[in-house]
Symmetry: C2
């Protein structure tokens, strides 16, 4: 099934969305919010699924037109956002460009950082940031939303804990990264709010494309309406979501609603383009000696979408504009 | 006023606690949970405060004995936990012990990492971890809980956003830290669940001890009932909470219920002891050439408390035992 949250209140209002993304129906009789549904998944899943089936058959009396612009993130605020960097050939490429060795452990031990989860942006909300000089970049990723995952869950038993999948735009401030990472404590200021696709879908929606804990379809990313990349998310993903979950829960329980990201989707095949500007700049540098594509400028737009084999949008599109954060907003 | 959450449901049940920590009263007529109160602080504060005044005067009809063992963390799950490292002389000491230079920027630019916030432990809950060899350590800290903080809020305007203060035990797995930090993405597996004091208090409870965005009282830490350290949290704190909040919100809004930590409380004066084992080991190494105090072992207990000038506990005590996380729990 497909679920979304309307922009109402801090946690949104849960709606079930039809497979073709045309219709929606409020789920408040089952769960008021997606977090509430995740907190009580075993009780809510059947009712939500029954509503989804009725909606797809056109039998939902209270259905209304689904509008992605009215969507908050599926989880407008979440309790955890753990972002991996599972396309290791991307890391290798970036390190090569700056002449850094590739520690062999990077191929066997996942990279993961703790991200900010208290405010995910909806799919059409503007990306508001104060300074272009920060080197504003998008990163197209796949993310899973888990149920409760007990500490110590192994890779072999992790996958049944995946409740939903969605797309995310993990915005990064590239020019703040080097100084921040040099301090040793990881990303903080260099990782502002992440944005999410309009709907999150259960794994069964993906059919044979969800295999081996990977989503085997191209992620299409557009910058200012020009195709920027379309790498297949199932190709060159060194660690599957099973492994990422096991990594995340080694020394902690993961509570329901934990979001775990793949890291920027990336294929070795250059012809598939890139899901972030930094990767394209890296390839430019390696191929021509100069990184010519600039980072985002105010007014730029970024769009991310994944289509099934019939060309139908699975998650709806992330479609955002970068705008300058204004000082006046500070007085609110 | 003083607020706590009883262990009921995922978010606890909000109670108001008397100043002397003897009595409590359910606040469900005002806000069911502390998160709900923080989400609507302007509407809830007056009612909670009125209940607190009645409780202190012994006029609360439904008051009951306050039991810290029944407490969850004030926020059993939160949307953000941003932990600073504001006692820079502690960092300098640790770096000196391993022969590392101290970057001058550490004195002017706060260190902060994004921590896991989806499961804070209550004050008397056991610390469950699977492996002593991870180098299990406690860290005694002060933390503030904020309301909504707009992106770009400056140090000068940050302090009114502080809603509550509490103590935290930021457990660290010292032997996992070096490899994790070497990967460059910061802490993840090396930072398991953090524990909180029974009550969180509004700044006015601290009187003249809350000054200059710092809490000027000793934090008393006991390992196996032996005093381990009692440094004054207002001494040698290089960055106040105003600066830490401004650092955290440079490129993001902070949503209500964000927890911001001071980092391990530490004084240059060695006679005040330490709030973590790592610091004591560092001093042993510098003074004697050998770090002799071991990290925690299963069965060890740690206690943290802060007393006012009359010897009365302000936040109640964190009082935890370290226990081995059992494989059987994985089947739950």
């Amino acid at each position: 099934m497909k679920l979304a949250s309307l922009k109402e209140g801090r946690d949104g209002s849960l709606v079930v969305v039809s497979r073709d993304l045309q219709l929606a129906c409020r789920a408040d009789g089952i769960a008021a919010t997606l977090q509430a549904a995740l907190d009580n998944w075993d009780e809510c899943e059947r009712g939500l699924n029954a509503m989804y089936q009725r909606l797809n058959r056109g039998e939902c009396a209270h259905a209304f037109a689904f509008d992605t612009a009215a969507c908050a993130a599926p989880l407008p605020r979440a309790y955890q956002w753990a972002d991996g960097s599972a396309y290791v050939s991307h890391i290798e490429l970036v390190r090569k460009a700056r002449g850094a060795d590739m520690p062999p452990g990077f191929w066997t031990d996942p990279l993961m950082y703790q991200g900010m989860s208290d405010g995910f942006l909806g799919p059409c909300e503007p990306i508001e940031l104060a300074d272009e000089a920060w080197g504003i970049d998008f990163e197209g990723e796949i993310a899973v939303i888990t149920g409760d995952v007990p500490m110590g869950t192994t890779e072999a038993s992790a996958l049944p804990h995946v409740r939903l999948l969605m797309l995310v735009n993990d915005v990064s401030l590239r020019n703040l990264v080097p100084a921040e990472l040099a301090k040793g404590f990881g990303f903080f200021q260099s990782k502002p709010a992440t944005s999410c696709s309009p709907v999150a879908v259960t794994p069964d929606e993906l059919g044979q494309h969800w295999q081996n804990a990977r989503l085997h379809l191209p992620l299409r990313v557009f910058l200012n309406n020009q195709l920027f990349g379309h790498p297949n998310a199932g190709v060159d993903m060194t660690f599957g979501f099973d492994r990422l979950i096991a990594h995340a829960c080694l020394s902690r329980h993961l509570s329901a609603g934990t979001v775990i990201g793949s890291g920027t989707v990336s294929n070795r095949d250059e012809s598939t383009g890139s899901c972030c500007i930094a990767e394209r700049r890296t390839r430019e540098l390696l191929n021509t000696g100069e990184a010519s594509t600039p980072f985002m400028q105010f007014g730029d737009s970024v769009r991310m979408e994944m289509l099934d084999e019939q060309g139908r949008s699975i998650f709806g599109a992330i479609d955002q504009q970068l705008v300058r954060y204004k000082a006046a907003q500070l007085s609110r």
